[in-house]
């Protein structure tokens, strides 16, 4: 039960040190690429940029990508590589416009919230030109933002060049790592083909259509780039996306490797290794806590739905007491395996809970089990991971989010030692706090606001598959996932419209799919770019400041004491923001009567 998470975390920690050093070298341009690659790099170099130019380049690049993505998806029926099979003899049609908007935004923002099913709705062309391309570039955007922020914190005269950073990250980091991972996955049995779905005769008389495709091309970067958008609707629970227990470990490690390594890169680029180690440790404490919580409550506890339930009286002021009927236990032996509902057993009993913690801590969003089948309390882990959004977090942006918390921590703790707060020798003043608070505000606003809206209206109430607290969790999860740019789903939410032509769909479009498409799409956009641009401005503002020398009166940011300050700040601020909504979701479900149906 505990071996798997220990194996995954241990391996990643060991790998993160050399890879972090390698990344620092790449970003600082110390790596000597082959001549023809350097030729391309020089063509892209538009010269040193200040933060505004850097942010502008980032926005322009993303705008172009958005238009390109929209075109590819909108023209899907007429573009090549539109595989025809038994289910879709005419190939894939056009998705509904809101779904296209949602999908394009989702892949642009590294979220990969999928309001569609890959094998049903996308052609191979869309998978390769849209999904794959976006997975490389959108992952690099966060990476580049972090690189620029570090340069600002380091006091560099400029923030680097966005296009050069993009090139270095994609070509020297993501491509080689993806090729290696891809080969390992193919070796483990992952399909890599442009052939349409196979039609096979099953042992029972009858035929089955088995979807396949260039899965191994997309899978490596799906995890390395913490993208999480599955080739198939079932994501990494699907045997073609995650064939064996070993590929499961490989996928977990490849989800975590860059978020872990980036902290090492941060320390190396700033030449502040002790400080980086403190941040690493703080994140690790929270991460281990999250995994431990999920595994303990899911693998260590039985599924309450299968247990005997006593008679329970629900007494509410103004209503007659309601007595729930007692339930007998189902004849299922859950000892040692815990809650197996919604899990893929080939990965091992604790694989689902572990994967859930891993994928939400670092905003990957791929899943190998159904998160809404986790025991209610275990379901807190993925929610908390996405709501904190800084437990390692997505590549680059996770650390940037952590830096925002860090600035708040430094501000409060710095005052407590009787000086104007300083971070890395730079004074934190009104302008920095304004930017930090702006970045900090975005996430809670974009989670709680829409959750409130959808929870009160039929948009949310009628879209949930389950009544009561579980249904509320579905809404809360969806917006937490969108705002954290995570992309995993709680399942059970009716948010799929599918093809624009309703008759082409295998199942009827959900009533409120368009509302969900638009709302989550907007949330993803804002919560992607504001928390990147504000810290860029903050770092640039710090870069301009004079360096204050270190004295015994300066608060150190590389001590255990500061580690506690940082941990306390993240936990306290996180708790204050999301505790009420979590109480209404998983906590209420846990304490509530069972079954809690209509």
């Amino acid at each position: 039960m505990w071996l798997l998470p220990i194996l995954i975390v241990g391996t990643t920690v060991l790998l993160s040190v050399p890879i972090g050093r390698y990344l620092a070298g790449i970003i600082d341009g110390k790596y000597q690429a082959p001549a023809f690659l350097r030729w391309f790099e020089r063509r892209l170099d538009t010269g040193p940029q200040n933060w505004k130019q850097y942010a502008a380049s980032l926005v322009i690049f993303n705008t172009v990508m958005f238009l390109f993505g929209y075109l590819v998806l909108a023209l899907q029926p007429s573009l090549p590589l539109n595989q025809r099979d038994a289910a879709f003899p005419d190939g894939k049609g056009m998705l509904s416009p809101t779904t296209i908007f949602n999908t394009v935004t989702s892949f642009l923002t590294n979220t990969n919230l999928q309001h569609y099913s890959g094998e049903q709705h996308l052609s191979y062309f869309s998978q390769l030109l849209f999904v794959l391309w976006n997975m490389f570039t959108s992952a690099a955007v966060g990476f580049c933002a972090l690189a620029a922020v570090i340069r600002g914190l380091r006091g560099d005269p400029h923030m680097g060049n966005y296009y050069v950073d993009m090139w270095r990250v994609v070509v020297y980091v993501f491509v080689p790592f993806s090729v290696i991972t891809g080969i390992l996955l193919i070796a483990a049995g992952m399909p890599m083909t442009l052939e349409p779905s196979a039609e096979v005769q099953t042992l029972q008389p009858g035929t089955q259509v088995i979807a396949r495709g260039p899965v191994a091309a997309i899978l490596p970067i799906k995890h390395l780039g913490t993208n999480g958008g599955g080739f198939f609707g079932a994501n990494s629970a699907h045997p073609f996306e995650n064939p064996t227990a070993w590929t499961n470990v490989l996928e977990c490690v490849s989800i975590l490797i860059f978020p872990f390594s980036l902290i090492i890169m941060f320390g190396r680029m700033l030449n502040q290794m002790r400080h980086a180690v403190v941040i690493y440790a703080v994140m690790m404490v929270m991460f281990v806590g999250m995994i431990g919580w999920a595994v303990y409550h899911d693998t260590g506890k039985p599924n309450p739905g299968l247990l005997a339930q006593p008679e329970r009286t629900v007494k509410i002021v103004g209503a007659e007491a309601k007595v729930t009927a007692p339930l007998a236990a189902l004849p299922v032996d859950q000892s040692g395996l815990g809650n197996l509902e919604g899990k893929e057993l080939r990965f091992g009993p604790s694989a689902g809970a572990t994967f859930a913690a891993v994928t939400t801590a670092v905003t990957c969003g791929s899943v190998n089990c159904m998160h809404d089948s986790l025991n209610p309390l275990a379901g807190l882990t993925p929610l908390v991971g996405m709501q904190l959004n800084c437990v390692f977090g997505g590549k680059g942006v996770g650390l940037v989010n952590m830096l925002i918390y860090l600035v708040v921590a430094v501000f409060l703790a710095g005052l407590m030692v009787g000086r104007t707060p300083e971070y890395l020798g730079k004074k934190i003043e009104a302008r920095e706090m304004k930017l930090a608070m702006l970045a900090l505000l975005v996430h809670p606003i974009l989670v709680l606001g829409p959750v409130g809206l959808f929870a009160a209206l039929d948009w949310g109430k009628a879209a949930t598959n389950n009544p009561g607290a579980h249904g509320f969790s579905e809404i809360l999860y969806e917006f937490s996932s969108a705002s954290a740019n995570n992309g995993s789903g709680f399942e059970g939410l009716g948010d799929t419209h599918g093809f624009n032509d309703p008759t082409k769909n295998l199942s009827a479009p959900a009533t409120y799919a368009a509302h969900w498409d638009l709302a989550t799409g907007l949330v993803m956009l804002v919560s992607r770019f504001l928390p990147i641009i504000a810290p860029l401005a903050l770092a640039a503002s710090l870069a301009r400041k004079k360096n204050t020398p270190f004295t015994t009166g300066t608060m150190r940011t590389d001590t255990i004491t500061f580690g506690f300050v940082l941990l306390g700040t993240v936990m306290l601020v996180g708790a204050l923001l999301f505790l009420p909504s979590l109480c209404l979701g998983p906590v209420a479900e846990h304490f509530g009567p069972m079954p809690f149906g209509r």
């Binding site: 629900v314 007494k315 509410i316 002021v317 103004g318 209503a319 309601k322 708040v408 501000f411 409060l412 703790a413 005052l415 407590m416 030692v417 009787g418 000086r419 104007t420 020798g425 003043e429 009104a430 706090m433 304004k434 608070m437 900090l440 505000l441 809670p444 606003i445 709680l448 409130g452 009160a456 009544p467 009561g468 249904g471 509320f472 360096n547 020398p549 004295t551 015994t552 009166g553 608060m555 001590t559 004491t561 300050v565 306390g568 306290l572 601020v573 708790a575 204050l576 505790l579 009420p580 909504s581 109480c583 209404l584 906590v587 209420a588 304490f591 509530g592 009567p593 809690f596 209509r598």
Partner: protein
């Protein structure tokens, strides 16, 4: 029978008296009145946190009124709603009271200072050209008949006016002595009873309005018209009238506003979430209507008020005013609140050697014979040569000789001729009537003098001189006739306890730099003895300025103290320039603080006051935010008691009822404000133990304490509410 307080009791009594003065009735009464005045939205608007509370209170009162009209509007009882309104209102009132009390204390301070500002009559010269004053003007005018002098009230004096102040008169306004010398009683502003000498032309030419001339007459040019002196500016600052928010205060207010906004979102979003829960529970238990406190507006307002940082929001202004007030108590006049704040950030302290590190002037500490004389004989010769020397060094030589046990009295016989010190000879001495010629002076000057007379120079002279000089002492050679007989050693005497103070500063992370006119060798040795980190020897105003610039280039903030006109550029350049009140007008204009006591060690105090100010802000903010956790555990289960009763499981405090839980949280939130007023006014104790230890301590007290205290407090209030049957 007499009772003597033992040590701890005396300390307690002192503390008690301080407590008493903190809430003295004559301060509290006007503060309460002012607290009500400050309820006006146009005043409260400046404090966003408390403004939100006020708006919330108004909203809550409206809903209470609506409950009276339509009793079915909410399931909350009228008594509960009224209690909420009262306590929300009290929250605002307490916050206003904290600020008003701080202002009242400042005013009280200011009033005592203003007493020195009584209108007096000034003798103004009727001169056309007041800019060009020839020497001797004072003498001319004091002889002139009085009709050439206007008697005007001091309040009508303008900058540039010339006034004559005679013995017994009060100096009408701040000014600078143009001519004359007088002893002045400055006790009215410094509290120091010994009179000080002020004279024109030098670095001690500044006079302060309200002080009294004890002897002689002076001609004073008014430099600050009535109402514009430093004191007036300071009075306005502590009274809060012209208080501008300091940079750090602005940054902190911004953080507090952002937190307020965040919690506003949390609470606003909670309403539809609670409605969602009500909706599905309606279906579950099968009723038409279901209401919980989660959709009750006054209750949500209460939650919001509990969550937003009201504690620090209420006390922030008071902390700032109290910082200024503490500076004023230390007899420091800050020209802005920013100056006090900057003091906490100081990295480098420039301290004058004389008066700060050493006791005034050098003293003779020993006589060393170079010839075959005894030390006492050298002493006698040295004392004879210094008999007429009025300099402190000369006097200390006579004094040292007198104290030696078997000394012959050093009384020069009548007819002795004294030779004074000149910059050319760099010697002084006496020609006795019996023909003996005694000289003392700088080593090289005396050696030259003796050589010129073909005298003998003992072989050990050079070694001895260098040996003493290298220890930071000043050896003076004594010659009788053409023979060098010995030397007098002059030494700087360190102020007692100065080394400990520097240790304290080092622990605070502050570099100390000694500024002295001495040669590098002497300076180095004294620096080592006193334990300063660096020194500027043979310091000129330019050297000081250059040093400050160098430090600032390295990102350090520099503080210095000065009095002379030639200190002005350095005072202006320094991040914190403290001018002595006895100093020139130029120096006072250049600095950003004026020390009424003219005490050079005051810089250390200034730094501590600044640090205390920032620490108090940080500690109370942390406390305020940490408090919220407990309030959640009290309020969230209460909000949903009507819909999701099983959430009672997270009510770790096990409070009596939903309404008592919410009321207890609101009451705790309100009364913590007046409870913390003493700390915000007195400041969190600063200990020079290094940043890390300080942080650990404050984290434990204010961070962890901030998490734990409300759990206890809310539970206690709930028990009390239950006991009196209000739960």
């Amino acid at each position: 029978m007499t009772t003597t307080l033992d040590q701890p009791n005396a300390k307690l009594a002192r503390r008690a008296s301080r407590q008493l003065s903190l809430f003295a009735p004559d301060l509290v009464k006007p503060a309460i009145g002012r607290a009500f005045v400050m309820l006006r939205p146009d005043i409260l608007w400046k404090n966003p946190v408390m403004f939100v509370v006020e708006v919330g209170t108004a909203l809550s009162i409206l809903y209470t009124a609506y409950k009276v009209i339509d009793p079915n509007s909410t399931l909350a009882s009228l008594g509960y709603l009224i209690a909420l309104d009262v306590w929300l209102f009290l929250t605002v009132l307490f916050a206003n009271f904290a600020e008003a009390l701080a202002e009242a204390r400042g005013k009280a301070q200011a009033d005592s200072l203003r007493k020195t500002r009584q209108d007096s009559t000034a003798w103004r010269l009727r001169l056309v050209d007041t800019t060009n004053i020839p020497p001797g003007t004072l003498a001319t005018w004091t002889k002139e008949p009085r009709q050439f002098i206007d008697e005007v009230p001091s309040s009508r004096l303008k900058t540039g006016d010339l006034v004559i102040v005679e013995a017994g008169q009060v100096i009408p306004a701040d000014g600078e002595i143009v001519e004359g010398i007088a002893s002045v009683d400055e006790s009215a502003i410094t509290g120091e009873s010994a009179p000080v000498v002020r004279e024109g032309g030098g670095d001690r030419s500044g006079v302060t309005g309200g002080t009294r001339v004890l002897s002689d007459a002076i001609l004073v040019r008014i430099t600050a018209a009535a109402g514009q002196s430093f004191l007036d500016r300071m009075i306005a600052l502590v009274e809060g009238a012209s208080r501008q928010r300091t940079p750090n205060e602005i940054a902190l207010s911004l953080v507090l506003s952002a937190f307020t906004l965040i919690f506003l979102i949390v609470v606003v979003a909670l309403w539809p979430m609670a409605a969602n829960a009500e909706d599905y529970m309606k279906g579950y238990v099968g009723v038409e209507t279901l209401k919980s406190l989660g959709t009750d507006i006054p209750t949500l307002v209460a939650l919001l008020v509990c969550l937003i940082p009201t504690t620090i929001g209420a006390l922030l202004a008071a902390i700032g005013i109290a910082g200024m007030d503490r500076a004023l108590r230390a007899n420091l006049i800050a020209k802005s609140g920013k100056a006090v704040e900057v003091a906490g950030d100081i990295d480098t302290l420039l301290l004058d050697k004389t008066g700060t590190i050493t006791l005034g002037n050098r003293r003779a500490t020993r006589f060393v014979p170079l010839d075959n004389l005894a030390a006492t004989e050298v002493g006698l010769l040295a004392a004879l040569s210094s008999a007429a020397d009025e300099t402190p060094e000369g006097k200390s030589i006579v004094e040292l000789h007198r104290r030696s046990p078997d000394a012959a009295p050093a009384l020069p016989p009548p007819g002795s001729k004294f030779v004074g010190f000149t910059a050319q000879t760099r010697m002084s001495g006496v020609d006795l009537p019996d023909g003996r010629v005694i000289r003392k002076g700088a080593a090289d000057a005396v050696v030259k003098y003796v050589k010129a007379q073909n005298g003998t120079i003992p072989a050990t002279t050079d070694d001895q001189v260098n040996a003493f000089a290298s220890q930071g002492m000043t050896p003076l050679l004594i010659a009788e006739g053409n023979a060098i007989v010995g030397l007098v050693v002059l030494e700087d005497v360190l102020k007692p306890g100065i080394k400990d103070r520097f240790d304290r500063l080092r622990k605070m992370g502050i570099r100390t730099v000694m500024v002295t006119g001495d040669n590098p060798l002497t300076a180095k040795s004294i620096a080592a003895q006193a334990g300063v980190d660096d020194y500027i020897a043979e310091a000129t105003p330019e050297a000081k300025l250059a040093y400050i610039r160098k430090e600032q280039y390295g990102g350090r903030l520099v503080a210095m103290m000065g009095d002379g006109t030639n200190d002005a550029p350095a005072l202006a350049q320094a991040d914190l320039g403290v001018a002595m009140n006895s100093g020139t007008q130029a120096a006072k204009e250049a600095g950003n603080m004026v020390d009424l006591d003219s005490d050079p060690t005051k810089l250390i105090e200034v730094v501590e006051i600044g640090k205390q100010l920032l620490m108090t802000r940080g500690a109370l903010t942390t406390f305020s935010v940490a408090n919220d956790l407990a309030k959640y555990f009290a309020i969230v289960p209460a909000l949903f008691a009507g819909t999701l009763p099983w959430l009672k499981s997270i009510d770790v405090m096990n409070l009596t009822s939903p309404t008592s839980a919410i009321l207890s949280a609101v009451i705790f939130n309100a009364i913590i404000i007046p409870l913390l007023i003493p700390i915000s006014l007195k400041g969190v104790t600063y200990r020079p133990v290094g940043a890390d230890a300080l942080l650990r301590r404050n984290l434990l007290v204010w961070g962890l304490g901030g998490v734990i205290v409300p759990f206890v407090g809310i539970k206690v209030i709930d028990l009390m509410l239950t006991a009196v049957g209000l739960a």
